[in-house]
Symmetry: C2
Subunit: 337 residues, 2 copies
């Protein structure tokens, strides 16, 4: 017998859809100059954000959005039942130290760039399951901390291929509550890890696109909904080429979503900014969802969206040991109310 | 108004306590020679486990316990709603690749050495919340993969201080179900990140003991239970000195638990094995809980325990940048039925 709130194979529905009562975003200068620059709460010109290292700067951004989101929800840290957070740094060190300073019971997540959506899905389950009144979800990433960890020393100035993406510098947080006003989370589709054998750690869009297509197709099958049900299908950070690939893979599965399929990594930078294939990183889907998309829903311009956080599950060691790059994608339905 | 299944500040209770229907364990040779050697399903003499690298060997162990646990529960991977897993390697790469091979919807966790208990707590909430019928929780760690990542190259043969612990080589998995026979999970207390300023990455017991004491005291306050309620309080990997410190910190908080307080890291190795302060790592609390402790409960020798997974939230970068080592501890009540 399937669990009572299960809908099909991978999707769950919420009896009392949890509410996204407050969000906060902060980004770096390049993101601030991009097409969505006006939708973010704050643009930080200094990559160090006044700290001694990029890592400490990233952490300061994460702490700031979390505190802002809590204030906007008219809450105190002690009113938050759980903090669900993660980032790209080894041992999710940005999230851990931020959790220390906030003192909220903490569940550390690692979903690579899909972490915001992993957090939103879990927040929905913890609240609708009766275990929490308020949950804080937060993520961060930083071009300068991620590049030197995953790829090459910054000082080396290695030229990236045109299909590579730029890690978004920034942080995003959302307070999800059992009651309140705002867009609601109605369903979540937790993804499987999919690996079609792509082995280039620079080509993350191609690595993640099959997982995104798998989760979206599964969501539509599980719910029995027609593709037209959603105004927007938006992936986390497939970038230009990954988005194209996901649209094609979905066509092969019988779903033509091309006219309503977008990607946070495509939206956040303009082609003139020369970031190559677009943005990536936990903060990419984080700031676009908690900034632009939530604002569009609140303004009534967007009614129903399926947001799909996408993550490339590589490590420096896995690449060095010749492994391919598997991907994962978690879908969350956000609707205006 | 607090959430309906909240008990006090940090504890939740389960309306229909989820059942630990099956577990599986595998350990390395040193662990096999220890006092609990006979309680593990399998002892692997070769640290590579037949693979080309230690990392691939660790992953093979993790995959094996997961498959064994699923079989013992008389299930197939497609009957499992969620896989909750994590490990110590950067980007939890052991868990990610294992999740790929199993094809179960996957939520990646990072709780350092507390990950088994983070997973058990979340599994309880997902099942009792109505979102899952069966959840698979799995963790792994490996002396040779962890040491070279966190500390020094293996070949360097750096002498460790006597208060250092040895990372347990092994993997553990548990299937938690809404129905079935076996010990049940009745409560979970998700911990806060606690940092008393300990800055030595070799002294993880001291870093984690304050978090363990905080979670245990909070659990007793939240539930209003007397210390005698539990036969056993058992922490994940505080080791010899960390256990002592936690007992003292609890005495300062008014709880004398010394006669019923043990630690998986103390139990797994004997002093003659010269591992210094005991065992650590995700697999430490993983294999002792899924092996020895569950067996004791099934045999009726142990009735009620508060298991507390403990994690030290450090990274190589955080240590190099002069940060202290915060700790976290998640408590789960397991009772015989």
């Amino acid at each position: 017998m399937p669990a009572p709130k299960k809908n099909g194979v991978q999707t769950v529905w919420f009896q009392n859809p949890p509410v996204i009562v407050a969000t906060a975003t902060i980004v770096g200068s390049k993101e601030g100059q991009g097409p969505l620059g006006h939708t973010f709460d704050k643009v930080v010109e200094d990559g160090y954000y006044g700290e001694k290292t990029w890592e400490k700067g990233e952490r300061r951004m994460l702490a700031e959005v979390m505190n802002t989101a809590i204030q906007r929800a008219n809450l105190q840290p002690q009113n938050i039942d759980y903090l669900l957070a993660g980032d790209l740094l080894n041992q999710i060190i940005s999230a851990n130290f931020t959790a220390r300073d906030l003192g909220i019971p903490f569940l550390g997540l690692y979903g690579a760039c899909s972490t915001m959506y992993e957090g939103l899905a879990l927040a929905g389950m913890l609240i609708d399951g009766g275990f929490a009144e308020n949950v804080l979800v937060g993520v961060s990433s930083h071009q300068s901390t991620a590049e030197r960890q995953y790829r090459y020393p910054t000082e080396q100035g290695v030229q990236r291929p045109l299909y590579a993406q730029r890690t978004v510098t920034g942080a995003a947080a959302a307070v999800i509550s059992r009651q309140g006003n705002g867009p609601v989370i109605t369903h979540a589709t937790v993804g499987r890890v999919i690996d079609l054998g792509q082995g280039d750690p620079m080509d993350m869009g191609a690595a993640m696109a099959p997982a995104a297509a798998d989760t979206i197709a599964r969501h539509l099958m599980d719910t029995g909904r027609q593709p037209e049900y959603y105004d927007l299908y938006i992936t986390g950070d497939l970038g230009t080429y990954g988005r194209e690939l996901a649209v094609k893979l979905l066509q092969q599965k019988g779903y033509d979503l091309s006219s309503r399929f977008s990607d946070c990594g495509v939206l956040i930078f303009s082609p003139e900014q020369d970031t190559h294939a677009g943005g990536s990183g936990c903060a990419c889907s984080g700031v676009v969802t908690c900034g632009y998309l939530i604002q569009e829903i609140r303004a009534g311009r967007l009614k129903r969206m399926l947001g799909v956080g996408t993550g490339a599950l590589l490590s420096q060691i896995s690449c060095q040991q010749g492994e391919t790059v598997p991907g994962i994608a978690h879908g969350v339905v956000i609707e205006g109310r």
